[in-house]
């Protein structure tokens, strides 16, 4: 077991030592600059207001002294200063005031709004931070203010609809499930190669799924580790999009970078805060299904259509075995429950000028809408500590987060059963409360409640940054991070999921266990040089990255227990098998640099570069170089426009550069055999791992962006627009192969070029701000387009029936639906090649694009005195597939609209003839229907994604604030889509829930 091979590589250690040595010079450079003031000290008090209301959280410091104070919730502050000192009063959104004490002991301060101060906000760009006004790259941002408004437990959920160019889709409503995120579209033909790079406080966080198919659950896909990130501890999330911002992340920046900054302490009095909320969640939208009368009518007609006069012994729904007057709304029965949500979050923060701390603890739990008692709970702690030496030369920043998740779910999503069970299927329970098997005529869906899925995830992320100012212009820094993730999952299949009449005992019960451990460390020494000259300001950064990640996994199964009560004890299993056991390693190293040149805060040039090496590529292909150039022109400072009364900010920026992607999994270049868990003659087998190709290299993505940012009327209207074009080439894909090769794909570079281009707009307007009422609106809109630009020999490649040059990647090739033939009652399709039969691929040629045409969100914030209302509408214009329910007439429920089906020659019907499955022509026509133009439908929607109403209770208590908060998620959805909720990646899973919570926020 060598989880931590930090010391194995002498060179890495050697590199790291340098920084230590360099930092040890610190004492040489330290000098005492603290100047003792001989003037008498005063205790100064006062209130900070905006003219009408008190301002809490305002920082008041004494010029040139390490003294700091922060105003409380009634705007009051106290600070010690000398009679001739000056107070510096600063607060985001207001102009910084410098006020002379002039011997006073009461200094009331009135701050003036500075709308342009938004431009002064420092934006985190990863290795460096940059003033909003001076950034040359494309960075979208949300802060804890937006995150706190939402009753969600996943950080991706908190970003939905709020950022231009970022499309996020929830894949299941089951708690602990995942989200699909695409930043500026799909760059890779590989569907699993489009996730962004996540970085928490400088430490990369692997988003590669944990979990195993054997412990597979009700999620579409495996468990996502992103649930470990606790939204309550997040201060801000920045998304880096263009080349200027992402090239410094080189090979991992192609799909964008998500930077998560956790909460830090602030100097001043120790503050306490408690947030607690509780609420409920329900399914947003059900299908409109047939009732018993409609269903049985369909069934009988189907038998008649197939010329079957006597019902078979197994056709329980129609042959009289089941009560034909029973009617159950299975969606209500199986998905109609109410999930309970609880969230508690507490924090303490404070500190002195030199040392600040913040401690945050949280607990979150959510039950499900399924029947049965299942919960997902999450608890975590986050600690952050900042320190600087007296002379401010040495700085340390430390943060650690630890999260525990416990998820207990049925390992089965009842959505399929809820939609397909005949409405006259028997009742779930017998009169005496046991599961009803109705003499073995059905598989009671609730049997699946016994197949529990349990997941325990413990996740630690720790990070320390040491920095030291070596000289006036030069500083050194090292960022050392460590992450550890442990996940164990289990899924049980007890004998109780079977009808007891079959006498299946616990001897055939089984359990599947999956244990994953993932450790990584990263070390990033950096040097920063800054110099301002009359020829402009230079800011240079040089750094290196060493990263090592080791994962180990063990998948086991146990079968045969003396009792189902012992099922969680592997020791009690008669047969224990190891289904998988592996340890893998991923190593990564890079050198990066940035040179920023700023002339008169007007012309800015930003050069970034990175040389990356990754262990995921074979010899000769391991290294690659990435770089970008970005520039900004703050034209509002030019003479010809200066002092314009309506335009107060104007910037044009552009960038071009390259990024790459190495998201292909480890060891794909090796020619190996893999140990298989399967035994034969007592020997464990060895299977060829893959088709061998060591020659593949980096995927490259060239990004181009031009953007303009304009502020009007003191930023009361702030507008940005960006045009981008990302071209990714040298596509690294598992090229589909016919099975005659032995495998279904091979890892290789493909000459295909994928282009993602689009326009992004954001508009923020302060509609009204007068006295105690203010109203602001933010809009973001993205119109993306993905295009397959080039694909050498597409027609002779295995992708020919999947893509079209000039079309988006997310297209479907479909049969052209013509309608129902009034004579035969069958669906008909266009016979494109006129050969008399509908055949694949010749007739499956109609292209439909399922990628969104545009998407975005409109957020409004209204504040009146102590009441604030914040709501966000999210919208998407898109096509998507209907929900397939199989040929109508089988023993499976159908959508109510199908009841108007063809029944006799001459009928002009929308839906075809019913069949019990014996009419092969009808079965075939139905299968083609699901691959035809009729099946793709408008799935656009507008959704009230989030609403938050809060009331600041007047307490007249010094330093105390109490807010009552009502929050809602997904409360309203407007859509034409008829097959359930329009937000999904793959259908048949529980849709997102609509959630209402109420809570309090107490700060003191």
């Amino acid at each position: 077991m060598n989880y931590f091979s930090f010391y194995k590589d002498g060179k890495a250690l050697y590199c790291l030592f340098f920084l230590g040595i360099m930092l040890s010079f610190s004492s040489l450079y330290a000098n005492i600059s603290f100047r003792q003031n001989s003037n008498p000290q005063l205790q100064i008090k006062g209130v900070v207001t905006n003219g009408s209301d008190p301002l809490p959280g305002v920082t008041i410091s004494v010029k040139n002294k390490p003294v700091i104070a922060v105003s409380d919730y009634s705007g009051q502050y106290t600070i010690t200063a000398a009679t001739d000192d000056e107070l510096i009063v600063s607060y985001i959104g207001f102009k910084t005031a410098v006020i002379a004490v002039a011997g006073r002991t009461v200094v009331d301060i009135r701050l003036e709004y500075d709308t342009t101060a938004l431009q002064e906000v420092k934006v985190n760009a990863g290795y460096y931070s940059v003033k909003e006004s001076e950034r040359t790259g494309s960075i979208a941002r949300i802060t804890s203010k937006d995150i706190e408004n939402q009753p969600v437990s996943n950080i991706l959920a908190s970003m939905q609809g709020r950022m231009a160019g970022v499309s996020i889709t929830q894949t299941t409503g089951v708690p602990g499930g995942g989200f699909d995120i695409k930043i500026r579209g799909q760059n890779s033909l590989r569907t699993d190669g489009n996730s962004p790079l996540y970085i928490i406080d400088g430490v990369p966080f692997s988003s590669e799924s944990i979990g195993a198919s054997q412990t597979g659950t009700s999620f579409p896909g495996l468990t996502s580790p992103l649930n470990s990130i606790n939204p309550d501890s997040v201060e801000s999330i920045e998304i880096l999009k263009d080349a200027d911002a992402t090239s410094i992340y080189g090979s991992r920046g192609a799909n964008g970078v998500v930077l998560i900054t956790t909460k830090k302490g602030k100097a001043g009095r120790t503050r306490y805060s408690i947030n607690a909320s509780s609420g409920t969640g329900r399914v947003t939208k059900f299908l409109n299904l047939m009732d018993t009368t409609e269903y049985l009518k369909m069934r009988r007609q189907a038998f008649a259509n197939d010329n079957i006069t006597t019902y078979g012994p197994l056709d329980y729904d129609v042959n009289g075995t089941w009560d034909q007057n029973r009617s159950t709304d299975w969606q209500k029965e199986l998905l109609g429950g109410t999930a309970q949500l609880t969230d508690i979050n507490t924090s303490i923060s404070g500190g002195s000028v030199n040392t600040q701390f913040s401690i945050n603890g949280s607990y979150n739990s959510q039950s499900t809408v399924f029947p049965g008692d299942f919960t997902y709970s999450k608890a975590g702690a986050h600690v952050s500590l900042n320190h600087q030496s007296e002379d401010s030369k040495f700085r340390l920043s430390f943060s650690v987060g630890y999260n525990i998740q416990r998820n207990n779910q049925p390992s089965y999503d009842f959505t399929y059963d809820a939609r397909s069970l005949p409405p006259n299927a028997p009742s779930l329970f017998t009169a005496d409360g046991r599961l009803n098997w109705e003499n073995g005529t059905w598989d009671n869906p609730l049997r699946n409640l016994n197949t529990e899925f349990k997941s325990h995830t413990n996740d630690l992320t720790a990070n320390t940054v040491f920095s030291y100012d070596i000289a006036k212009e030069l500083s050194a820094k090292i960022n050392i991070g460590y992450t550890s993730l442990q996940n164990d999952e289990s899924r049980i299949v007890p004998s109780t999921i079977q009808n007891p009449a079959y006498n299946i005992t616990s001897a055939s019960s089984s359990i599947f266990l999956n244990d994953i451990q993932r450790f990584s460390w990263i070390a990033e020494p950096q040097l920063n040089w800054k110099k301002s000259t009359q020829y402009g300001a230079f800011d240079m950064l040089l750094g290196a990255t060493f990263q090592n990640r080791e994962s180990s996994r063990m998948v086991q199964s146990g079968t045969g227990f003396t009792s189902n009560n012992l099922i969680y004890n592997l020791l009690s299993a008669k047969t224990v098998r190891v289904l998988g056991n592996d340890e893998t390693q991923y190593k990564y190293q890079a050198f990066f640099g940035r040179l920023n040149y700023n002339l008169h805060q007007r012309y800015i040039l930003n050069l970034t570069a990175r040389r990356d090496g990754s262990s995921r590529f074979g010899p000769g292909n391991q290294f690659a170089f990435f770089g970008a150039v970005g520039a900004a022109w703050l034209f509002y400072k030019e003479q010809f426009i200066k002092d314009n009364s309506w335009l107060n900010f104007g910037k044009i920026r552009a960038s071009y550069g390259t990024t790459g992607s190495d998201q292909i999994g480890d060891y794909q270049f090796l020619d190996t055999y893999t140990a298989n868990s399967v035994l034969y003659s007592g020997i464990t087998g060895l299977a060829p791992s893959r088709l061998y190709n060591a020659g593949f290299g980096w995927e490259t993505n060239r990004k181009l962006e031009v953007a303009m940012e304009l502020g009007f009327l003191q930023d009361r209207i702030f507008f940005t627009t960006a045009w981008y074009r990302n071209r990714s080439s040298n596509q690294l894909v598992g090229i589909p192969l016919p099975s005659t090769t032995g495998f279904t794909s091979i890892q290789a570079n493909l000459g295909a070029v994928v282009e993602n281009s689009g326009l992004e707009f954001t508009l923020r307007t302060v509609n009204f701000t007068q006295g105690s009422f203010s109203w602001t609106t933010s809009l973001n809109l993205t119109s993306p387009r993905t295009k397959l630009v080039d694909f050498p020999n597409l027609q002779s490649s295995s992708y020919r029936n999947q893509y079209r040059i000039g079309s988006p990647l997310n297209i479907q090739l479909l049969y052209n639906f013509k309608g129902v033939n009034p004579q035969t009652g069958l669906y008909e399709y266009q016979d494109i090649n006129n050969d008399g039969i509908i055949s694949f691929p010749e007739d499956k040629q109609i292209v439909r694009d399922l990628s969104p045409k545009y998407y975005g969100g409109i957020q409004n914030q209204l504040i009146y005195k102590r009441i604030s209302l914040d709501f966000l509408f999210q919208f998407t214009k898109q096509l998507n597939k209907s929900y397939p329910m199989g040929p109508a007439g089988l023993m499976s429920n159908q959508q109510q609209r199908i009841k108007n089906s063809w029944s006799q020659p001459g009928d002009q019907a929308i839906y075809q003839i019913y069949t019990t499955g014996y009419d092969k022509a009808a079965v075939t026509a139905d299968a083609l229907y699901n691959e035809s133009t009729a099946f793709v439908t408008d799935a656009s929607f507008i959704r009230l994604k989030n609403i938050c109403l809060s009331y600041d209770v007047p307490l007249n208590l010094r330093d105390t604030q109490l807010k009552i908060v009502l929050q809602g998620q997904n409360l309203l959805t407007f859509t034409k889509y008829r097959d359930g909720d329009p937000e999904f990646i793959s259908y048949g899973f529980l849709p997102p829930l609509k959630i209402i919570t109420a809570g309090i926020q107490l700060n003191f």
């Binding site: 893998t584 190593k587 190293q589 140990a675 298989n676 035994l679 060829p688 020919r800 075939t924 299968a927």
Partner: protein, 461 residues
């Protein structure tokens, strides 16, 4: 002082960057713990053998010959007239039962992809052992012989199911991704050639006690079947004799012992893997309460048995509740794990060889010899000697006997109807959606999409 501080600055900086740029070896990683290089696999007989055994466990668990519901024992039983699938839309047997297969049927594409993956594995061993200089000639011959046998066996089933198919003999994916469908006679030539090669390499004794590795007799058994299917009756008869003549090693057992691990009737069976595990056939076919959850034996099969036929009671079990009775195949009896494994899934057994020789002899005019072989099987089932007299009668009696001897075993019934041209006559009247073109399964749509050389699709799909 100033100069000194500058020096202090530059020395560490220089060293830092020198060291950083010499750190390229940092990204070297070792092999993952679960993997072994291909070269290393064939440096050692034990690991090479593990690669071979993995193909057998694959054949047992997945693809055409698996005893699970996804194999042909079940699916072709439904497709022909042996089994009835219970009417649940999620039952994967249902589309076979209803003879309404789509080109996207996952079981059908499973037959194709799994078999070619196993063929790849066999070819990889042939190539790996060929290159290896660490194994003895004997070791290589034995491994290679089994690989030729596997390659022939899988291509045989693929061609029976899909008609003309590509015959893959190496691991070159560039070539094999453009593979074309080979005409049937040529496929049979290739199969025969591979089996003849195997015959010269595989020992006649079993490597292991439990007959879980194919020996020369298994190769002969497959040859006999292939000759019979191709109406090469002389060769079929000789190949079958090569097995039947080893009458110390192979003996017809009683009905109740024929499917046990120790059965001397077995020519080749598939090891169950884990100790205590039994066959997938038993766990899939057996039901203990009714209505049957998956499949049950059809009325036509049940009623075709002679009243005196002991197989009707020894190999078939009735489950009754109230007044309803359903029947399941009961050749394999252990549907759960037992302390020690009792049954393995049998691929070749002696009874079939008797029936192959009986049919071949009949066609060759050796009616006495034919009846003698046929009666061996009949007598074991408690039946009297056949009453068939003429050549035609005897041939029909043999085919009739095969139906009752080999039911629910690897699709024998379907293949018999197919090779004797009786599919339409027999299945047409009793299977509602039966169509002449159902004689072949559809080539999976995904395969046609990735390799257009496989076009056109089989008729009817």
């Amino acid at each position: 002082m100033k100069a000194l501080s500058k020096l202090k600055l530059y020395i560490p900086l220089t060293v830092l960057f020198n060291s950083l740029f010499s750190c390229d070896s940092f990204i070297e990683v070792g092999l993952p713990k679960s993997q072994l290089t291909t070269e290393a696999v064939f440096e050692d007989y034990n690991t090479a053998e593990a690669a071979l055994l993995n193909i057998y466990s694959g054949i047992r668990d997945r693809g055409i010959l698996t005893g699970t519901g996804q194999g042909i024992s079940n699916l072709l039983g439904n497709y022909a007239d042996e089994l009835v699938s219970s009417e649940s839309p999620t039952n994967s047997s249902l589309n076979f039962y209803k003879n309404s297969l789509m080109t996207t049927n996952t079981a059908v594409s499973g037959f194709w992809t799994v078999s070619y993956n196993q063929i790849y594995a066999a070819n990889a061993i042939l190539e790996g052992t060929h290159k290896s200089d660490k194994m003895t000639i004997e070791q290589k011959k034995q491994l290679q012989g089994e690989c030729y046998f596997i390659r022939a066996l899988l291509h045989f089933y693929l061609s029976e199911l899909f008609g003309s198919i590509p015959y893959i003999t190496d691991t070159d994916f560039r070539k094999n991704s453009k593979a074309t469908r080979m005409p049937l006679p040529l496929i049979y030539e290739n199969i025969e050639a591979d089996l003849q090669k195997a015959l010269t390499m595989i020992p006649s004794q079993y490597l292991e006690q439990e007959r879980v590795r194919p020996n020369a007799a298994a190769v002969q058994a497959l040859l006999a079947r292939i000759y019979l299917y191709n109406k090469a009756y002389g060769e079929a008869s000789n190949a079958a004799s090569a097995v039947l003549n080893q009458n110390q090693l192979y003996i017809l057992e009683t009905l109740n012992t024929a499917f046990l691990i120790s059965s001397k009737e077995t020519i080749w069976q598939l090891h169950a893997g884990t100790a205590g595990r039994n066959t997938s056939e038993a766990s899939y076919f057996t039901f203990t309460a009714i209505p049957p959850p998956q499949v049950y034996l059809s009325g036509t099969l049940l009623s075709s048995f002679d009243a005196a036929d002991l197989r009707r009671t020894a190999w078939i079990k009735a489950v009754t509740k109230n007044s309803a009775t359903f029947y399941h195949a009961f050749k394999y009896k252990e549907n759960n794990a037992t302390a020690v494994s009792k049954e393995y899934s049998i691929v070749f057994r002696l009874a079939e060889q008797f029936l192959i020789r009986a049919e071949s002899r009949a066609y060759q005019g050796d009616l006495i010899g034919a009846k003698e072989d046929l009666n061996k099987v009949r007598n074991r089932a408690g039946l009297t000697n056949t009453g068939a007299v003429s050549q035609q009668e005897i041939i029909e009696a043999v085919v009739h006997e095969r139906r009752h001897e080999l039911f629910t075993e690897q699709g024998h019934r379907f293949f018999d109807l197919k090779r004797t041209g009786k599919l339409d006559n027999v299945l047409g009247p009793i299977k509602m959606a039966w169509n002449t073109t159902n004689i072949l399964l559809p080539i999976p749509q995904s395969e046609l999409a990735t390799n257009p050389n496989l076009l056109p699709q089989n008729p009817g799909y």
